[in-house]
């Protein structure tokens, strides 16, 4: 979230699309209700189902799964054509005025530079025109036909209310009503917050769904405001923290892009990742990349990371290709992965196309499951009737199952969706011989290290030299680890302007990432967490919930990254002169000598307004991007593409261009394309979702949750039920081109049949939480049905829009 949970109470409009927080994030959603109750805020919901969030909304509009960009593109068109913009904000704080390369273009659904064979783009034209002064050219009148504002206006002029109705199935008057609500927050003192979750991410165009909302919030001047911003309502209690630690292939902790095969050495690696400012006077904060990266190398390799060996740059593995979950399981399916560690993860349930995932696991030599629970994945080889129809004798995978403790049985931090890092204390020991994850990882590592020290083997250096200075090497404590993540000075850190002034003494914990250096004198395991355990101690354990501003900032509760800032881009909550757009909700203001207010400034503290340092300090432009340059896979402006399994024959936006039917830049593996079904055989749209009583594939192991929602069901509208002769309570079989599940039918008024592009489209809703293990009734795994294709940028699978057929079982 750019803002945080409690801040939702400061909104005038809460716009929920792509999420259902009343059921998936109930205790956070309480703040939306507080906003309604205390400041007469409005709640507007757009969703394929009239869900429980919709049931308490002021207005609800239905939409066909997978058509969000058409809807949101329509909103952008409405705002621009009705002049509902926060003009000063758009002009000063976005790249609306920036001129775009003459070679950039868009024709019939395809942007300039497309390579059909490789399914990707040469993005060299998706860039700014550069002036002779080395900075991007701008036209502050916003009239130049090549400026971002004009290109954006032309791009979305096609998204008329009629087109929205045609593509989304949303009645035109309902769409316009939603537009009116949203447009009302273009006023300087009116603020909308957007809440979304997997309903936006789990599409082959997921990232661009969210880009649309980023653009809308910039056009309305809502980014950086209290009660504004974009609320990515994330999944697990610590999915934010584990993302920050970058437990995924393409980044190192703190979102540092990992080295790949194009990075020859440290110098060229750093050069590529250290941008130059694109406008004068901008902070261009990523210019500090070398300090963050070098400090990480020092945290991992200590004294062995020296200037002579490029701070052990070569010891970091270089990526040879994608390493996301879909890529891992595809490689496994092809027999290219031999060993697999599965820690607190149940991929047989949670990865699309269960058959493919099971077959992939069966091709491993060995798998190690580290988990508190007996997951479905750990028993992929075991027959569980028709729910898991396998033959153990044919599966050679050796499977180890190691018992881990869970949240109540160990200490350490979780980072919530609002980026607040909070310490947890251990309450009890785990059952039996269960061990903490840290202890299990340490035990494996120390064994490997001992073997490499004794017997040698393939390139032992990065193993033998990995820092492991924990008091008990076999039991690294969470306190020691958080101190390492925060970082410390290895030598005295001095003021660059006055080398006689020591800012941090050697050996001391660092107070903030401003102290990081690229000469090896600082170590820091994750620069964005710097300050979480400073010399003052464990700041994540702070429990002062006082709230002097009344905005809910609670700056002394836990520690928010970065530098305890609660609202990102908060400089944008004030006008160019530094005066808050809305004095009732002051986040930041210029006091004459410094930035002050109710948050940690997202700005150099002494940057006077006349210096023109713009609020979006993490971009080299200094401004928010309406046009995303070369940073997205499928285009610099979001465009509607159909889901890979669509009920329509073509993309109604581009009916004559089959290349532009679905995301032209999405990666589709051979075999998976063939496994897509068509509307002829699978005429109904399916979307997966979550229940308030369950969390993913986890609460099915809890007796009380199993009692509350004991069995797999599917939800279908009355019209479809009547057509198929299905009554509530009937057992039904749902098939996709990848398999089938059986479930109890729930016939409801909550899902309506929509008129889309001249045809009736029925949607079937499928909860995800069940499987053959646990306290719930043994059942099928929903992801038996889902397609193995992901978003072109993140590779998040398209769980939310695919095709099925349904019949009485």
């Amino acid at each position: 979230m750019t803002n945080h949970w409690v801040d939702i109470k400061n909104a005038d409009l809460i716009f929920v699309m792509g999420g259902n927080p009343a059921e998936a994030h109930p205790c956070g959603f309480k703040w939306a209700i507080e906003a309604k109750k205390n400041r007469k805020a409005k709640l507007v919901v757009v969703d394929p189902r009239f869900n429980r969030t919709a049931s308490v909304a002021d207005y609800y509009a239905p939409i066909r799964p997978g058509s969000d960009i058409a809807f949101l593109g329509g909103v952008i068109n409405y705002l621009v054509s009705h002049d509902k913009l926060q003009h000063e904000y758009v002009k000063a704080y976005t790249n609306a005025a920036f001129l775009i390369d003459e070679g950039y273009g868009f024709e019939d659904g395809i942007f300039s530079g497309y390579n059909e064979e490789k399914r990707n783009y040469d993005k060299s034209t998706w860039k700014y025109q550069m002036g002779e002064d080395g900075f991007a050219k701008v036209d502050e009148t916003l009239q130049d036909p090549r400026c971002v504002f004009q290109l954006m206006k032309a791009h979305y002029a096609r998204y008329t209310p009629e087109v929205v109705q045609q593509v989304c199935g949303t009645p035109k008057d309902a769409f316009l009503k939603v537009c009116e609500y949203i447009a009302s927050t273009a006023a300087k003192d009116k603020v909308m917050t957007s809440l979304y979750a997997l309903g936006w991410t789990e599409h082959s165009v997921g990232s661009q769904n969210i880009r649309c909302m980023a653009m809308i919030q910039l056009l309305l001047g809502n980014m950086g405001m209290a009660g504004g911003g974009i609320g990515a309502l994330r999944g697990h209690a610590n999915v934010q923290g584990i993302t920050d630690m970058c437990a995924y292939s393409q980044n190192l902790p703190g979102y540092l892009s990992a080295p790949n095969e194009t990075d020859k050495d440290r110098t060229s690696y750093l050069e590529k990742r250290t941008p130059k400012a694109l406008r004068p006077n901008q902070m261009n904060f990523p210019q500090n990349f070398p300090k963050w990266f070098t400090s990480l190398c020092k945290a991992w390799y200590g004294n062995a990371a020296t200037p002579e060996n490029g701070f052990a740059f070569d010891w970091l593995p270089k990526l040879g290709g994608p390493g996301d979950t879909l890529a891992i399981f595809h490689a496994m399916f092809e027999g290219k992965i031999n060993g697999f560690i599965c820690q607190g993860f149940n991929p047989l349930s949670s990865v699309p196309n269960k058959k493919k995932v099971g077959d992939a696991l069966a091709r491993l030599k060995w798998m190690v499951v580290i988990d508190p629970l007996a997951t479905d994945t750990s028993e992929f080889w075991k027959p569980h009737g028709e729910f898991n129809d396998v033959k153990p004798a044919e599966i050679p995978t050796e499977v180890f199952r190691l018992p881990a403790t869970l949240f109540a049985e160990n200490s350490g931090t979780f980072t919530n969706s609002g980026r607040v890092i909070q310490w947890r204390w251990k309450a009890a020991d785990g059952p039996g011989d269960a061990k903490d994850d840290t202890e299990i990882i340490a035990a494996l590592f120390l064994r490997l290290k001992a073997m490499y020290a004794k017997d040698g083997g393939a390139f032992p250096d990065p193993i033998l030299n990995l820092t492991w200075a924990y008091t008990q090497p076999a039991k690294p404590s969470p306190e020691e680890l958080l101190r390492e993540i925060n970082g410390k000075a290895l030598a005295d850190v001095v003021d660059p302007k006055d080398p006689t002034k020591v800012l941090v003494k050697a050996g001391e914990q660092l107070p903030s990432f401003a102290m990081l250096r690229d000469d090896g004198s600082t170590a820091c395991g994750n620069w964005i967490y710097c300050g979480s355990w400073s010399q003052a101690g464990n700041n994540t354990a702070r429990r002062d919930n006082s709230d002097p501003s009344g905005l809910g900032q609670t700056l002394n509760w836990g520690f928010a990254w970065p530098v305890n800032r609660r609202i990102l881009y908060n400089r944008a909550s004030a006008d160019v002169a530094g005066k808050p757009w809305d004095a009732q909700r002051t986040v930041l203001k210029w006091t004459g000598t410094a930035w002050g207010g109710n948050d940690i400034p997202d700005m150099r503290p002494n940057a006077a307004p006349e210096e023109n340092v713009m609020p979006f300090i993490m971009t080299p432009e200094g401004v928010g991007r309406l046009f995303s340059r070369e940073l997205m896979a499928e285009g610099p402006l979001p465009e509607h593409y159909e889901p890979f399994e669509s009920p329509l024959d073509n993309n109604p936006m581009h009916p004559n261009n089959p290349k532009a039917k679905s995301n032209p830049a999405a990666r589709v593996y051979k075999g998976d394309m063939e496994a897509f079904g068509t509307a002829k055989d699978f005429p109904y749209v399916a979307t997966t979702y979550r229940l308030v009583e369950h969390f993913h594939y986890w609460t099915k192991f809890s007796q009380i949750n199993a009692i509350m929602q004991p069995e797999q069901f599917v939800e279908l509208g009355e019209e479809l039920a009547k057509e198929k002769g299905i009554k509530a309570g009937d057992k039904v079989k749902i098939r996709s081109n990848r398999g089938f599940i059986k479930a109890v039918a729930v016939v409801t008024k909550r899902i309506k049949t929509l008129d889309v592009d001249g045809k009736k489209v029925h949607t079937v809703g499928i909860p995800i939480h069940y499987g053959f293990k646990g306290a719930t009734r043994p059942g099928f795994i929903t992801n038996t049905l889902t397609p193995f294709v992901g978003d072109a940028n993140t590779q998040t699978p398209e769980y939310k829009a695919f095709l099925v057929n349904i019949e009485k079982a």
């Binding site: 998936a24 109930p26 205790c27 956070g28 999944g235 697990h236 209690a237 610590n238 999915v239 584990i242 993302t243 437990a247 995924y248 292939s249 095969e261 991992w300 070569d314 593995p317 270089k318 390493g323 996301d324 891992i328 290219k336 060993g339 697999f340 607190g344 629970l373 050679p396 050796e398 499977v399 180890f400 190691l402 018992p403 881990a404 049985e409 350490g412 979780f414 980072t415 919530n416 969706s417 909070q422 309450a427 009890a428 011989d433 269960a434 994850d437 340490a442 590592f445 064994r447 490997l448 390139f459 990065p462 990995l466 680890l481 994750n526 192991f701 007796q703 009380i704 949750n705 293990k773």
Partner: protein, 195 residues
């Protein structure tokens, strides 16, 4: 009234509600005859966080025993932490069932192995499990490690090993897992962030 949560329970255990005590002007130091005390008054209270969704609600975990070295703690109750500024003491139907998840009959208690082609689990010791896994890892890393790619660029990666890292574990556990995996040369790793 100046009293902490535990004292408050003790006062309330006399059978009156907290608010009525306040209205009647009792101070917590007033000697009230104890008829029966709530179990929670004798329990140890530990602050933690619900592991389910990203609201990350503060919870109070009540366990028997006082955490002294020789006493076994058993979790007997979990409720929302009223001090937490986000959830303010509330829990949803997921979080309200936390104790049943902790005490699920499906909790793993000891290491097990399912041998190739076998149709059952076999209990093994931690030492045997860790030794076998470490040997597998070293053999595979030594056999498949790529020091340089076809163009002669140093890449130092172990391509035949995959890992999924839990989003339900702490930052500290996640960091240590990432550091270790990268140290071994693993590049095929991911987490629930995108799933």
């Amino acid at each position: 009234m100046n009293m902490n949560r535990r004292q408050f329970f003790k006062v309330c255990s006399a059978g009156l509600t907290g608010s009525s005590i306040a209205v009647m002007g009792f101070s917590p130091t007033a000697a009230l005859a104890e008829v029966r005390t709530f179990k929670l008054a004798r329990a140890t209270e530990t602050r933690n966080i619900c592991p389910y969704c990203s609201v990350s609600c503060g919870v109070l975990i009540y366990s028997t025993g006082d955490k002294s070295k020789n006493s076994q703690s058993e979790i007997i109750h979990i409720e929302g932490d009223p001090d937490n500024p986000v959830n303010r003491g509330t829990l949803c139907p997921k979080g309200a069932g936390l104790r049943d998840m902790i005490q699920s009959k499906d909790r793993l208690k000891w290491p097990e192995v399912r041998e190739a082609g076998s149709s059952e689990w076999k209990r093994i010791s931690w030492n045997e499990a860790l030794d076998r896994i470490a040997k597998h890892m070293k053999a595979d890393r030594d056999a498949n490690f790529i020091a340089q790619n076809a163009d002669g660029l140093t890449v130092n990666r172990w391509p035949t090993m995959g890992a999924l890292v839990s989003s339900a574990s702490s930052n500290e556990a996640g960091y240590l897992t990432v550091k270790t995996l990268r140290g071994l040369g693993v590049t095929a790793l991911d987490t629930q962030a995108r799933i």
